[in-house]
């Protein structure tokens, strides 16, 4: 195998490993654009992972499984939305609780599925498909266009999310809600409705990201299958400066970092695997620090992020 081929294979795998991050990051971007910081990403991903997996076992149907995963993620987000939007609870603590709850739920439901593998009928659906013409482009074809359907869905979701945010009326309203809820309210935008819808949408995407891990990436049940990816997604939102297109770049970059330790292990590289495994976390910290000390207006978070909005206290 030539070095070029090795690099192509590596990048191809980086996209696969980055796809769950991409869904979760997009979900969290949409949530945060509504002004809500939901730290329950990890929990919602796990809820999606376990629900999707269970449904795939029972129904042998890939699409039901994905739908269940999105529903589960949205259900987790609904708890968060009721508490933070309607009952005005602290967003940070509620999000953390959602992560603890989701972790518990996936451990609870998953215990009986330990060691089970995804049914063949479902695996078949998630087999890589080479896209006509595009898949034949040298180098780029294998990297981008000989992937499984969900990787393609990832591209589409990112682009749709970007178009929605920047090119539609609804997206504009959403950004208004996140920037200045009081002003949005004055412009007769239903702030609570916008928050609910987008928090739930965000949760559904996190659930989908989790399901990608348990159904496609692993594809078997193992406890705590996310291993902190939900948190990396939260950091990636900052890296992507709340921009869905940049989320594509960030997710695939981290997808690469995530697998590099494993890939490098066989090459006789003289550094412990455990040290290399620290990389994604170290780079996340580094990025957060760099972003924070070169604060610029354009890359700033939504102004209303984390600030609860109550009309009565306006």
């Amino acid at each position: 195998m030539t070095t070029t081929m090795a690099i192509v294979f590596f990048l191809q795998a980086a996209l696969v490993s980055g796809t769950p991050l991409l869904f979760a990051t997009l979900g969290e971007i949409i949530t945060e654009r509504a002004g809500n910081l939901n730290l329950g990403v990890e929990g919602m991903m796990l809820m999606g992972a376990v629900s999707g997996f269970a449904v795939s076992l029972f129904t042998q149907n890939a699409w039901y499984a994905l739908f269940a995963a999105m529903l589960a993620g949205a259900a987790g987000a609904l708890i968060y939305a009721v508490l933070t939007v309607s009952l005005r609870a602290n967003q940070v603590v509620t999000g953390l609780t959602l992560t603890i709850f989701g972790t518990g739920l996936s451990g609870f439901l998953g215990q009986r599925m330990m060691g089970e593998v995804v049914p063949e009928a479902v695996k078949l659906v998630f087999k890589p498909v080479s896209l006509p013409v595009l898949g034949d482009i040298p180098y780029l074809g294998p990297i981008f266009f000989q992937q499984d359907p969900l990787v393609y869905l990832g591209y589409v979701t990112a682009i749709v999310a970007g178009l929605y945010l920047y090119r539609t009326r609804l997206g504009l309203n959403l950004r208004a809600v996140g920037e200045n809820a009081a002003a949005a309210d004055a412009a007769s935008i239903n702030v609570s409705l916008y928050k609910y819808v987008h928090i739930l949408l965000g949760g559904a995407l996190c659930g989908l990201g989790g399901a990608y891990l348990s159904l496609v990436y692993i594809p078997a049940w193992q406890e705590n299958v996310t291993a902190g990816r939900g948190w990396i997604a939260v950091a990636l939102v900052i890296f992507a400066t709340w921009n869905p297109y940049r989320a594509l770049v960030g997710s695939y970059l981290f997808g690469g970092l995530d697998i590099i330790g494993f890939r490098i292990q066989g090459t006789g590289f003289p550094v412990s695997q455990y040290m290399i495994d620290m990389l994604p976390y170290l780079v996340t910290i580094l990025i957060l620090v760099v972003v924070s000390f070169r604060k610029s207006k354009e890359n700033a978070p939504p102004k209303g992020l984390g600030i609860p909005y109550f009309r009565e206290e306006r």
Partner: protein
Amino acid sequence: MLRIVKKAEMTKTKQIGIRILAVILALLTAALLIFAMDLNPLAVYGGMLKGAFGSAYRIREVVIEATSLTIASLGIAIAFRMQFWNIGGEGQILMGAFAATYFALHFPDLPAFFLLSTMIIAAMIGGGLWAMIPAFFKAQWKTNETIITLMMNYIALKWVMYLQFGPWKDPTALGFPKIPNFTANAILPKVFGVHIGWIFALILVFLVAVFLNHSKKGYEIAVLGESEQTALYAGINVKRTIITAVFWSGALCGLVGMIQASALNNTLSIEVSEGIGFTAIITTWLAALKPVVILLVSVLFAALVQGASYIQTAFGIPQAAAELLQGMILFFVLGSEFFIRYRFVLDRAPLGGLEEEMNK
């Protein structure tokens, strides 16, 4: 139309009453879940009580669990008072345990008192320094601490894994990846059948209460937590306050690491933290960041964890049920806080608000 109105300050008893009601509602909701599993909720809860307090041995286990949880929660409370969201308790526990283990492995023959004291100080410095890294970034550039403290948990975990599978691997363990056991000198003594940590916990509850409520630094931490603007206006050195407070937050978690490694595991492993750093977040919030209440809530949660491990064997309910129940309890308490601060008013006429004003 239904409107939401801010309440006048509620009495303490009423506030506590609402929180207890929330916990009961959470337990009832969980009971439905148990019922759905074709089990008798009463029997399961009874089993949990038995598992927690059914014998002298079980009570001792609860005290052991509560000790670590109390100390970690006190640490978390210091940071949370300042609205510094330290969710890196797990990592700080591991790094504390790592620092203590360094001395336990390298000076195994020191007299017990000196060795244990050194291990305690090392653990506190280890955990404190580990927490200071995100605190420094926060103080310097307002870097989001939530994610960094969490990322550092994973780094600490990989670091201990590296030691466990690499340089500190026990050569006599026949290739099994474990770090050598401590000598007897490096193991905390027992008082009334439980390691001495429980006495530390009681003393620390008192010390942290005094620190937070009656010291200048504690006051500065509280002001900073309310508003950085106010803190600056009051002439508080914001950067130094952040770094000092978070150091102590991490130091207490580090101490938990030493206790876990020395008294319970007798060695360092990736299991020493046992999720205490996360559970402590829940207990701290439930206790409204108050040290004495933390002690109480920690004992209850320790009982819950012990009870859950008992029902695992007795009823075949997964251990994760404990986490699930903890999450549910906190959800209900978070929701209940709304009813402490607000009340609903039903407006009959469009001018209902006015009528409301007039009725005052």
